[in-house]
Symmetry: C2
Subunit: 731 residues, 2 copies
Amino acid sequence: MKGRVTIPTDESFVEGTKEIAKLWGADAVRDCDGTKLPANAGEIAGKVYETYFVTRGDVAWAKAHPEELQHFFLLSERKTAAGETLKIFPAEGYYAEQVKPDHSKDALRFWQVIDRTTGKEHTEWKADEKEGCIVIEHAQPYHEYTVSFLAHNVWDSTQMYNYITNGWDTDKHSPYDPRYPLTAAHIKEVLEGWLKTHPDVTVVRFTTFLYHFFLVFNEAGKEKIVDWFGYNASVSPRALDEFEKEYGYRLTAEDFVDEGYYNSPHRVPNKHFRDYMDFTMRYVARTVKELVSLVHAYNKEAMMFLGDSWIGTEPYGKYFADIGLDAVVGSVGGGVTVRMLSDMPGVKYVEGRMLPYFFPDTFFEGNEEGAVAELNKNWMTARRAMMRAPLERIGFGGYLSLAAKFPKFVARAGEVCEEFRRIYAGVKGKQPFCAVKVAVLNCWGKLRSWQCFMTAHELWYQQAYSYQGILEALSGLPVEVSFIDFDDVKAGALDKIDVLLNAGDAYTAWSGGEHWQDAEVQERVRAFVARGGGFVGVGEPTAYAKQGRFFALADILGVDEEKGLSLNTDKYNITAEEGHFIFADTPAPDFGEDKKNIYALSGTKVLKIAFSERFTRNVNVGEVKAAVNTYGKGRSFYITGLPYSFENARLLYRALLWTAQKEEYAEKNFSTNVAVDCHYYAASGEYALVNNTFEEQKTTFFDASGSSRGMTLAPMQIVWLKAEDGAVCSG
Amino acid sequence: MKGRVTIPTDESFVEGTKEIAKLWGADAVRDCDGTKLPANAGEIAGKVYETYFVTRGDVAWAKAHPEELQHFFLLSERKTAAGETLKIFPAEGYYAEQVKPDHSKDALRFWQVIDRTTGKEHTEWKADEKEGCIVIEHAQPYHEYTVSFLAHNVWDSTQMYNYITNGWDTDKHSPYDPRYPLTAAHIKEVLEGWLKTHPDVTVVRFTTFLYHFFLVFNEAGKEKIVDWFGYNASVSPRALDEFEKEYGYRLTAEDFVDEGYYNSPHRVPNKHFRDYMDFTMRYVARTVKELVSLVHAYNKEAMMFLGDSWIGTEPYGKYFADIGLDAVVGSVGGGVTVRMLSDMPGVKYVEGRMLPYFFPDTFFEGNEEGAVAELNKNWMTARRAMMRAPLERIGFGGYLSLAAKFPKFVARAGEVCEEFRRIYAGVKGKQPFCAVKVAVLNCWGKLRSWQCFMTAHELWYQQAYSYQGILEALSGLPVEVSFIDFDDVKAGALDKIDVLLNAGDAYTAWSGGEHWQDAEVQERVRAFVARGGGFVGVGEPTAYAKQGRFFALADILGVDEEKGLSLNTDKYNITAEEGHFIFADTPAPDFGEDKKNIYALSGTKVLKIAFSERFTRNVNVGEVKAAVNTYGKGRSFYITGLPYSFENARLLYRALLWTAQKEEYAEKNFSTNVAVDCHYYAASGEYALVNNTFEEQKTTFFDASGSSRGMTLAPMQIVWLKAEDGAVCSG
């Protein structure tokens, strides 16, 4: 087979590129940071990608139009008034090369001083541009004050990061804002000129669109705030004025700085921020659509890099499909990032940029084994999700000449490309078997499909991995996954699913916070479970302290959290049931960061419990770690945390089967070994058994009829079986 | 020496009692559950105590006046409506022998049905006494409902507990309520009759006054709710009507059942409950005062047992001193319970009932060593606090004849009594040296002095021990301890102290919850620290999520808690400072239950940090476990938890010295060994060095001038030194 693979190339490595393209079956070449496409790139491969920046890179333009540079809303440090007058220097704590407070009259309108001790705005202050501070009068001694200010974002965050990290020495890119008329015209003109002068390019790889995610650095030049979802670098006086015209109310600085949380994705989103997101999404989609139409007019494809400047073009957003993009490319770190791309609606194809990147940090002399290991690890974690929903293409980045020096790497990458094409052929459009339909419920729903619990793209956070494991598990499990929000619940989404999953810390957007106050949401979920639905809760599901409960649906979950207020009520969590269906393959689960103080209500079946070694009372009351409950005709499962592992993925699968009352699928289309996944593609009648490890694995394979047989899989092997091959024998 | 000791006696053990009284220097005898005073008890000792029950024990009276029995407000189980009609059986889940729903018209007025899904009262319901249920009409399907009901408390909780636990077979005591006129007159008449017929008794030991703390059992006869501070067994239609007359508003059932929390001491108390407490305290004090006057009229002393029926007679309450009690006796389990008694104002003397109780569970054949060990353990933990504030008396309970069978026990108890008298002589009125004045700040202040974090009296709770350790440490440290509330802060209490201590879980009465919203409280505390005061925070001090902070005084503490909302802000807790003054004697502290997700603000000095082993990012960011900060001229110390140990007590002492900027006292009136306490009594010029262990200890002793010398103490030894003895040599 051939195709579906993109490789980097370079004007100094044309022949080498051709050779590797042949070995790997690559049909596309691309440029990268630090490389240039050869003159006749089209001769190497049918598809030629070239990187394009929309709102940065034109250094002269940025210099000539300082009033059209992009903005941030930023919060100053908190300062305590000692007396009645207080000076605050807004830029303190920020990287001076990136952040320039905008003292223009137009911007100052939006600056706000807040007394953080009372939460009230304080209006008696003056800005002193010369000194770089604001002076607050009639402050209340020993209150804390902040100033929220508009600043120019004078250095693109990604370029700055690369500059600082890699010691680059190039012109600094100041991003300019197409909300302003000169820039709006300019970006179109420049693109058209570029399209004309780049006939060989078949795919315009938009590495940035309009606005970067929120990323700002501290005075030491280190990362200060990073939010891959943050809208805070899309603001401008002009946008705010237009917003007011359209919505009839005015957004304030506080709507953006949000007490310093900056509307992080973990916050339960409020109406103002939602409105602003919608407003910005529409604007960005409209603007980008014009650029994409230009690209199409020149018979090229438009591809978006799901990375830096994707604010307003969220692929699961309402306006994304209108843009008319041909493709999205994104980096792949595991199953979640595969599904984030492969489930994406509204484009013709998606491509995953695999690891390792061909950079000297991996491709240095003597590290051939290391490079191969990194490739294998990346491929194996991504492959698991591809068995459910494959990408259309994969690709690599960096200096191909570096990779070419490692023949074992070249050979192994060729195998990976070939295996990818085999998976694509076997899975795409073949409707893999799904035992259960599960919906993940949070405040973001579909918009943040496969993006739950994230802060910076794919970065590990101690507070998140015990929840992210759920998604990583789901990305490869034989279940149908959807993401819904609380409005969807009220609109009847529960009618279409078997199991509802709610996970996260209390009062975050993931567990849902105040939405669990909503009586209709409670009614809908209770009715769903009572009629036979399943409910899976992880961490602090449905949490909202009210009316004697911390978990609003403690009655369904069968557990609640002791917050230290009801110690006067005796708890009798003394024993756990052994050998439950859910834990059959995971007797000792990993609870990750775990939750303390969970107790069972009467009637609940505790499955995992932990006892304090210090306990000094007669009856040793434990903390519940996992439990099941029945509620009407339905069932629920609770666990304190679920980081990703083969064992925990299996645990989750069994929990979904049990709560959906489909336990029979533990002996149908099933592999007993947790390290071996089993998929069934009814449309082709094929089974795939996938060894997810680097060791040989033995397993018992159950086919769709429940017949079973022992199997041995080589390291990393995928075994494809046709039912009619007699590959599965009964008995 | 002789005196200050009370022993139990029995009509069958008169000669034995005399012998032991002589050996132990006892000057008082008492009766106990299951024993009877001998006819001429006054011949054995100068003081004779006899137990007296005010509102129970008169079985005939209770039977004859069922309408004057005491009440509870109880909450039914939560029931979900499947349709429009819902039946709830209020008594379900309660012990039928104890709880009888009061269906009288007078009581039904106060029953309430609440829709717990909305929090609103639901008024469409009828009670069906015959079936024992209430029927709710027009319920909202899939909402949870409860009924809050008045029930008669037909079996005294303590008698019931003993009955069930010890298999007693006596008449059941139903407590009667002196709020009702017949009972009000009756309890006085009965007491007067009793006083007349008990001429030998010199001390009336009121084992109950009017109302038992809240203790109710479940349908299996096991403890369901226990709250040593609970007012819920003091209610009655009559009390509520009187309340309304006086306060001009009507209390509802919800004011008492409080969403099922029953106003536990851990809840931030609200105005209604505060009003009811005050109302009840005044009533109880007034009523008990009449009983005490009667006792005095018969030339006897009145003693209260700080145990079962102490509701309304809280010794640190406003009206307690008015009662005119002569004494209080309470059980002693450690330093905290000693100080709870010995710091008590308003009585002539306090007595501690030591352990072990002379019951067969300890005093069985072959367990002489065990009995001695229990005595030593109890004495050693209590003694530590006696060195700061001794009780006036100690005593024992149970069957003296059992103890008499163990000569080693008799001998050791004699030594303990002697040592107690020596401590009393050396400490009482001698003003022990206090390096620091520390105030513990919570919602209860003085009223709950030495009672913070408690639920059932002295019982261990996993959620509490990491805070209770603070009080146990303070009970024996050379510091002056006061307990203040938020009104005290606003009234200037901080002017009188060196260090303010705030400890507890978020939103509990101990950390303070909503009181940290109060701008004036914040101003006062900030001003106090800025001017040089000290602040010690443990757990979740000052917690109240608002305006970007979880800890309201994060600026003082230098730390805050990540609740999952601000993950977008980078944390740089990477290293901890070694060798700080505070941890000099406690390099590896015990954090107990600990707190997760604490991070340091910029400028804070992290002293203890924990790193996740799973951390996968470049910079390993830890969780802060302890930190110090400077704020203006003041200092703060934070730690995640502080269970009691010698090492942690020392840690706390050093934290108080450091935050008070009195580090010099680590070399004055000080013992380097954490197991050896050093006390200095300026009034007598004596030092006491106390070995708190059962092993020999070596230490370096620093006197008041800072001169030091090595010392060796025998197991359990106290060394008393006079400065002028030359006992302390310089150099």
